[in-house]
């Protein structure tokens, strides 16, 4: 068993002749809240897409709890414990809030198609368990009152919270958050920071997040990796990153 929840070694991807990310190395330990920052177009979301196998990396290895996920598909990556949210919210907007979470929970459901067709007792007890579990998750994100609403009808901030709830429903060991505070007002962002810490402790998971809101990044992340033009500029604590001249140059120019 590796001590790292996530470890990448020289991870890289090319699109045609363009190298989008190269020599990306990161080590996320159990319980970390880890920030991945960098200017626009640095390749942050591309890293998430490689970690979840939406993109196939061109080089390098990804280890999740010591297991190489090189040959795995997106579904298998989800089953071994990586869940994510998206920069542009991608909820199932036509489904109810509760059903969005239930879709994530279904991996842990244990009745068969026959059970559901014939409405066996097992089906009912399992459905009841899923319903309670879904409401519990929604409760953490203050969404239990919206359970019956269509996901697409929620306010923006609530949709972002629902996306995190849905990701948590798949029981991840590593949660990837892609700009969770984008579009939130300062009050919502503050609440989100508290929620992020709370879910780390409650679910005993590691969190890797991409964020442009520096107040959030510096407020919740214990470690940070800075990405610039697809390369790791530096790894460090928030203090180290904030005072690094290279980082300041990357963000503000010369």
């Amino acid at each position: 068993m590796s001590e790292y929840v996530l470890e990448t070694k020289n991870l890289g991807i090319d699109f045609g002749g363009l190298t989008a990310v190269n020599n990306f190395n990161i080590r996320v330990e159990k319980g970390d809240i880890y920030g991945l920052i960098g200017p626009n177009g640095a390749g942050k979301t591309t890293v998430f897409n490689m970690l979840t196998k939406v993109y196939e990396p061109s080089r390098g290895t990804i280890l999740v709890n010591g297991t190489d996920i090189g040959k795995m598909s997106t579904i298998e990556v989800n089953r071994i414990g990586i869940a994510r949210t998206f920069q542009n919210i991608r909820l199932f907007s036509d489904l109810s809030v509760e059903d969005n979470v239930k879709i994530g929970l279904h991996n842990s459901g244990s009745y068969s198609l026959a059970d559901s067709l014939f409405r066996t007792g097992k089906f009912h007890s399992e459905e009841k368990r899923l319903h309670e579990r879904a409401l519990e998750l929604l409760g953490i994100f203050r969404l239990e009152g919206f359970a019956e609403h269509k996901a697409g009808s929620l306010p923006y901030g609530a949709q972002r919270r629902l996306e995190i709830a849905r990701a948590l429903a798949t029981k991840p060991c590593l949660l990837l958050l892609d700009e969770p505070a984008a579009g939130m007002n300062p009050v919502e962002t503050q609440e989100l920071m508290d929620t992020i810490k709370q879910i780390r402790d409650r679910f005993d998971i590691s969190i890797l997040l991409i964020e442009h809101d520096m107040k959030l990044v510096m407020g919740v992340c214990e470690k940070i990796t800075v990405l610039n033009f697809g390369q790791v500029l530096m790894n460090g604590t928030p203090e180290e990153v904030q005072n690094d001249p290279e980082v300041i140059k990357a963000y503000l120019g010369d």
Binding site: A83, F92, D94, I103, G109, S116, T170
Partner: protein, 293 residues
């Protein structure tokens, strides 16, 4: 009273269109492709039912089940062999492939069973009921057709809205990548969609042959195109849309045939489609889709 009986036979025809349209609309909703071979699956279903009834001597229900089984397997096989390898190809390539599959099935049927049409003897002749003192006669065959359509619609709506697999289907129809990241096996959802659509095509084939009892290799083409029109009319991707579109199209077709001109029927049917699309491009019950930036 005459009008009422025309209306009822329009609903009967529309019920068949609706069942076929479901196959188009579900496959489009999930796989985002137009399966133009769907009509030819109906044709295969009709041949299987014919041989099961008159060569093997199966009772009607057994023949129907045989037809459903063969079409379901055929639908899954077509998807696996012809469409799955093109999952990431352009939609035009998939469309052309679907047309290719359609010709393949027609010509395979021609090769196997010849071009002479096979005649179904009446398969659902249970007489009729009389209403309004004998002024309106409705055959049980019509009632069975309409009832079948309603039962299918209710079951399918319940399946899609209430069951876990149905919800997974809706999730896939909205966003396949997000669905994969939730652990949904998108490939099996697509297989299931083709299985359901093709199974329904078999049911439609038997109902169709009860109405028009000639089986030829091109039997599926016209009902296929009409049902596709019905699906677009109702809003492609929408299950209630397929139902509404099918019924409307069937009624318009029969009424136009009786009151306007039997030669112009098809022209009128397709003109209605053009008109609806001019004013409501998403179809009657279609959802507006906005491109995400």
């Amino acid at each position: 009273m005459k009008f009422l009986s025309y209306l009822i036979s329009g609903i009967r025809l529309g019920s068949i269109y609706a069942i076929i349209a479901l196959g188009y609309t579900m496959v489009y909703g999930i796989a985002k492709m137009l399966n133009f071979a769907h009509g030819d699956v109906i044709m295969i279903g009709a041949y299987v039912a014919f041989f099961a009834l008159y060569r093997a001597g199966f009772p009607l229900v057994a023949a129907l089940l045989a037809s459903v089984a063969v079409c379901t397997i055929l639908g899954i096989t077509i998807e696996k062999l012809a469409y799955k390898p093109l999952r990431s190809a352009t939609s035009l390539a998939v469309l052309i492939t679907a047309i290719g599959v359609s010709y393949f099935l027609q010509n395979a049927a021609l090769l196997l069973w010849g071009s002479t049409s096979k005649i179904f003897p009446t398969i659902l002749d249970y007489g009729f009921i009389e209403l309004f003192g004998g002024e309106l006669k409705i055959s049980y065959q019509i009632l069975i057709t309409i009832a079948t359509c309603i039962v299918i619609m209710v079951c399918l709506t319940l399946f899609v809205n209430k069951t876990r697999m149905g919800k997974a289907m809706r999730a896939c129809s909205e966003d396949k990548d997000a669905a994969r990241l939730m652990g949904i096996n998108v490939n099996s959802v697509i297989s299931l969609t083709f299985a359901i659509g093709s199974g329904l095509a078999a049911v439609a084939s038997v109902l169709l042959c009860a109405t028009y009892p000639t089986v030829t290799p091109t039997l599926g083409s016209m009902p296929g195109i009409k049902a596709f029109t019905a699906a677009v009319l109702g809003g492609i991707g929408s299950i209630p849309g397929a139902f509404l579109g099918g019924l409307l199209l069937g009624i318009i077709e029969v009424i136009a045939k009786v009151y306007i001109s039997s030669e112009l029927t098809d022209a009128i049917v397709f003109s209605v489609l053009v008109l609806v699309l001019l004013f409501k491009p998403t179809g009657l019950l279609g959802r507006k889709t906005s491109e995400k930036v």
